[in-house]
């Protein structure tokens, strides 16, 4: 987040006083992932939307139905609509497809007792006909059939006039008075509600399966929102899985690339590797990348198969991709191979952390059973062991962020900033692996050590996000 200098000098002044009390500090400044939002039910959203409709229809003296068309067409910006309406109401109504660009010519047949409907070509009594502001008359049966067909295709707010080259939209009250089947009416209202929420910049449907919750935030930022019903965490801006520090456009590009190249990457997603010392086949069954061969007890890194000893210190750079400096002079084939190698490097790590996350979910379950056993055997109380559960939860959170640092790094241009990023990424990765190792092996209530490790890992995570999360 950006702050102008003027804005923050006072805040700084007050914050320094409260510095010793971290809880009291403005969370939007200490926590890069801080985001204010609320989870609403369908009824609450309906009330919210209706409030806007009511304000607009009262201010402009128009029907609520027309107010809805205007709001839907203008991202629910009431003030904006009011200003435009007062400026040139006719232009606004034409642009919002409520009125036709040219006023309809009064047709001679309008006043006849019988008319022929241009759609079904049946001659009927004039009172069986209706039209929108454009004046195109059609019989009510055909209107109803038109609505039915459109609604079965999932269209609601976008239903228009049946005349050729006429773009006038049918407002809600027009549709509902002509639709008779209760099931279709209900469908229409559901679809319209969906359209309204989608056109509202402050609202997002929770992407969780069968979840009805709508999340509301004042600003459409790429921050994490967590549904209070199904607990799905997602990016508020693009509605997909939360992806900090990568931005919405980049993660989309990355996921498309991964989907396209899945065949190439398949061979590396094999679950087994050979121990670099005794060459026995090892299947990775835990999340931690610090492996210990069950046969020869050799400690090695799952990612690079190197000795783990060199990973314990700041030399950890398994996360970093080393580009070939002479690549510009190489042949096209070599460049293509290098590009694939680079992609595979990042993809392998991305995929590996995603798998580790899943494996650590199982670890969490195992921890729960382990805590129960320990407590039953009276070795420590439940509170004593609770920290292990907290550690596993934190581990998942850290690893999740780490996973999403790889697409970010892949698309980053080489330079000092990338070096800094990869340094921080390596630091985070090293601490995460330490934490993972400690959690998987915690036997005694060595709480201090673990809590210390948790603190370090989380600090690394927030530091990285603070420096690189641009929202």
């Amino acid at each position: 987040m950006e702050y102008s200098d003027d804005d923050c000098c006072y805040a700084d002044y007050y914050n320094t006083e409260e510095d010793n009390d971290a809880e009291q500090m403005d969370p939007s400044r200490t926590d890069p992932e801080y985001f204010v939002y609320e989870c609403l039910t369908v009824e609450e959203v309906e009330r919210l939307l209706n409030e806007s409709v009511e304000i607009l229809s009262n201010t402009l003296q128009i029907t609520p139905s027309l107010a809805k068309v205007l709001l839907h067409a203008h991202e629910w910006a009431i003030q904006d609509i009011i200003v435009k309406y007062r400026g040139d109401s006719c232009r606004l109504l034409v642009l919002s497809k409520i009125k036709p660009p040219h006023p309809p010519e009064p047709s001679a047949s309008r006043h006849l007792r019988h008319q022929v409907c241009p759609v079904c070509v049946a001659s009927q009594n004039s009172d069986r006909f209706s039209c929108l502001a454009c004046g195109h008359l059609f019989c009510k049966d055909c209107w109803a059939m038109h609505f039915e067909v459109q609604i079965t295709q999932g269209i609601s707010t976008g239903i228009g006039c049946m005349a050729q080259e006429c773009e006038v939209l049918a407002p809600e009250d027009f549709v509902l008075t002509l639709l008779s089947r209760p099931s279709t009416r209900e469908k229409y209202q559901q679809f319209a509600f969906r359209d309204y929420v989608k056109s509202h910049p402050q609202l997002r449907f929770c992407p969780g399966p069968n979840c009805q919750v709508v999340v509301r935030a004042k600003e459409p930022l790429a921050k994490r929102a967590i549904c209070n019903v199904c607990r799905t965490a997602f990016c508020f801006r693009c509605g997909t899985d939360y992806h900090a520090p990568t931005d919405c456009a980049t993660i989309k590009k990355w996921l498309t690339k991964c989907a396209d190249d899945s065949e190439t990457a398949n061979y590396i997603s094999a679950h087994t590797k050979d121990c670099p010392r005794c060459h026995i086949c090892i299947e990775k069954n835990g999340g931690c990348n610090h492996m210990q061969c069950y046969n020869c007890k050799h400690d090695f890194c799952w990612m690079c198969l190197g000795d783990w000893k060199s990973h314990g210190s700041e030399y950890y750079e398994c996360s970093r991709y080393k580009e070939n400096p002479n690549i510009a002079h190489e042949s096209v084939h070599a460049q293509a191979r290098e590009a694939l190698k680079k992609y595979l490097h990042y993809y392998e790590r991305w995929e590996n952390h995603s798998k580790s996350l899943k494996l650590e979910e199982q670890t969490l379950q195992k921890i729960k059973t382990r805590i129960n056993n320990k407590v039953m055997n009276a070795s420590g109380t439940w509170i004593d062991w609770q920290y292990l559960h907290d550690a596993a939860t934190l581990l998942a959170k850290c690893r999740y962020t780490l996973q999403y640092t790889y697409p970010y790094a892949y698309y980053m241009e080489a330079g000092p900033r990338k070096e800094l990023f990869e340094y921080q990424q390596a630091q985070l990765e090293a601490e995460i692996e330490n934490l993972s190792w400690k959690i998987e092996r915690a036997e005694t209530t060595d709480r201090g050590d673990l809590e210390n490790q948790m603190d370090i890992a989380e600090k690394r995570r927030t530091t990285l996000l603070k420096d690189f999360l641009e929202v």
């Binding site: 070509v121 059609f138 067909v149 049946m162 050729q164």
Partner: protein, 236 residues
Amino acid sequence: MEYGFSSSQKSKIIQIELISPNSGDMLLSCKLYVAIISHACSLQKWLYSFLFTCWTSRVAKCAIKVELVNDNYTELKGEIAGPPETPYEGGTFVLEIKVPETYPFNPPKVRFITKIWHPNISSVTGAICLDILKDQWAAAMTLRTVLLSLQALLAAAEPDDPQDAVVAKQFKENQDMFRQTARHWTFIYAGGPHKNSDFELKIRRLTDMGIEDHRARVALSSYNWDLERATEQLFS
């Protein structure tokens, strides 16, 4: 309201089809028979559309035409004449028209049976890229409007919204070559009057090498009738 119609209704349509070509005022007879079968909305519209198109085609000297293919009434055969002063002049283009159950609230599905060289029509499948057959369809339109719009499309292509990228590229970059190619395709597939002996010769060179006639024509058309490049593409 129901779509579709019973067998007794079907027999009436056949009667109408038999009677109507001989009656004087098509619209009048159309109305009359529409009144007989007044249940199915889509059927009425279909019938009206069908008869009105037959009627127009007689008045306008066969510029457009619709025929039934079989007796299930959901599939029709359309015909349009290539518009004058275009490479399609003198050709007759046959269309496959599939009328959906929800017609006229959904557009008919139309494609060219006759092979044609046009930026908005696939030279392989005959699929058409035309807005009124997609999102710009309006229930008030008829088969007649569709056929007239297709005729207009032949007269004025929209290369910026192409269906066939190769044709569109040629249209934009080499208008003269496009016109000659389109005229040649009209001559071969649609009975057009303009023979191009130079093109024929090049095709024969390729068919002599065992390439199938149409394949040879597509390759040559795609490479601006450059025999060398077409051969290269065919044998690579």
